[in-house]
Amino acid sequence: MVKEIERAGLPVVHMCTVVPISLTVGANRIVPTVSIPHPLGNPQLTAADEKELRRRLVRKALRALETEIHGQVVFDK
């Protein structure tokens, strides 16, 4: 899916947990996430902390969309 969206001319960031699969399917901007059943959350945290975690990940995704790249990049910092 991510490749077809990219092909249509839209920059796209793939937020997912299993990065090797994302690399195999050809995503270019990749942000690793928390876990398979809750990529953008962590039920062990308090509601406020969990939301903060999600906010940080989404911000990372926005920075990835603002970054010029020339191949596949995993934004794991």
């Binding site: 899916m1 991510v2 490749k3 077809e4 969206i5 990219e6 092909r7 249509a8 001319g9 839209l10 920059p11 796209v12 960031v13 793939h14 937020m15 997912c16 947990t17 299993v18 090797p20 699969i21 994302s22 195999t24 399917v25 050809g26 270019n28 901007r29 996430t33 876990s35 398979i36 059943p37 809750h38 990529p39 953008l40 959350g41 039920p43 969990e50 939301k51 999600r54 906010r55 990940l57 989404v58 911000r59 995704a61 926005l62 969309l65 603002e66 970054t67 010029e68 790249i69 020339h70 191949g71 596949q72």
Partner: protein, 350 residues
């Protein structure tokens, strides 16, 4: 050795190992003596020549989320039995399972130096990632093909055990990308001309070197400033309005959904859930923002961190769904997003 039975160790996920479904996908590596699940049919097909001495089981999510440590434990367990051959799966079209079967195969191949036989549907991501390290028998896309997959795997195990020559054409496995040198009766130039003549005359011919198929899309230029653009959300995690009004299938999806987010500031358990059948749905059903981060994007929209969030989100279930289907969905989705003036996309996957 010649009088001894071939020793086989079998790797399975939590489902085929009989531990449980997606709710047990975080199961840590464990080993059992003898056969389990599909191992029974495997043992029957192997007959008296080989014995499945142990089965190692690991939950698919646990493996995918802890590849290094899970692999280390699994390999240590396998190694203790000093197998002659290792069998992983078959994984059919299960993505995480295929990747686990492939990663185990690679480690066994590199560290234990014994052959590995597996079984997968050609679209399983484990094939592209790991076909060099294992003999991966080509299977159908679901466990319905178990009846055919097991005999094919057993044949390969037996042939490898007897050190027989095997080839993709004769043993039904996916080519490993290896080249084998041999002397042809005719020189290359003649074969090339024969091929060309056949082509000109519209006669059938078989290339000796199929071109590899690379389908990569170069990254687009970035957005200049997230504060000034319209961003859309797309997910393969199956988040849908509660009740799944368009009946998106829990696996092998044949359709996608487009849903209105106007006025929605939080995905509540009363209004949204997941239709995905390939991961434990408990966490997403309690709070779908854990898959589709709508709540924080709304706040960021309000605070001016993003220009705006597109009114609709698009969703499908990426669970054993054919690559061709996914590509077709995304093509339509992308065209709509472009027409609607969206500048960038956040795609989330489980």
């Amino acid at each position: 050795m010649s009088n001894q039975k071939l020793k086989v160790v079998h790797y399975l996920n939590q489902f085929y190992g009989g531990i449980g479904g997606e709710d047990k996908a975080d199961h840590h590596p464990e080993e059992r003596a003898g056969v389990l699940g599909p191992g029974m049919a495997l043992q029957a097909a192997l007959g008296a020549d080989a014995e499945v001495v142990a089965t190692v089981i690991c939950g698919d999510s646990y493996f995918a989320e802890n590849i290094e440590s899970a692999l280390h434990t699994v390999i240590t367990m396998i190694k203790a039995h000093a197998p002659d051959i290792v069998v992983t799966g078959p994984a059919f079209n299960a993505g995480r399972y295929g990747v686990a079967c492939g990663a185990v195969a690679k480690a066994v191949f590199e560290e234990l130096r014994v052959p590995v036989v597996s079984g997968m549907y050609p679209e399983n991501p484990g094939v592209e990632m790991y076909c060099r390290y294992a003999y991966i028998v080509r299977t159908g896309n679901s466990a319905a093909d178990m009846r055919k997959a097991i005999p094919a795997i057993a044949n390969l195990v037996k042939a490898l055990g007897k050190k027989e020559e095997v080839a993709p054409e004769t043993h039904a496995y996916i080519p490993q990308g290896l080249r084998k040198n041999y002397f042809h009766t005719e020189r290359g130039a003649k074969r090339a001309v024969d091929m060309l003549v056949a082509k000109i005359n519209a006669q059938p011919f078989v290339t000796e070197y199929p071109m590899p198929h690379f389908d990569r899309v170069a990254p687009n230029m970035p957005i200049a400033d997230a504060r000034k653009v319209k961003i859309a959300l797309v997910t393969s995690g199956g988040i849908v309005p509660k009740g799944n009004p368009d009946h998106i299938e829990s696996s092998s999806a044949s359709r996608y959904g487009k849903y209105d987010l106007q006025g929605v500031t939080d995905l509540t358990p009363e209004s949204f859930a997941t239709a995905h059948g390939g991961y434990d749905p408990v966490y997403a059903n309690l709070d779908a923002d854990r898959v589709l981060p709508l709540d924080v994007l709304r706040e960021m929209e309000k605070a001016g961190e993003i220009g705006s969030l597109h009114r609709y989100f698009y969703t499908t279930v990426g669970n054993g769904t054919a690559v061709a289907n996914c590509a077709a969905f995304a093509k339509k989705i992308a065209q709509e997003l472009v027409n609607d003036g969206v500048h960038a996309v956040i795609l989330t996957s489980t």
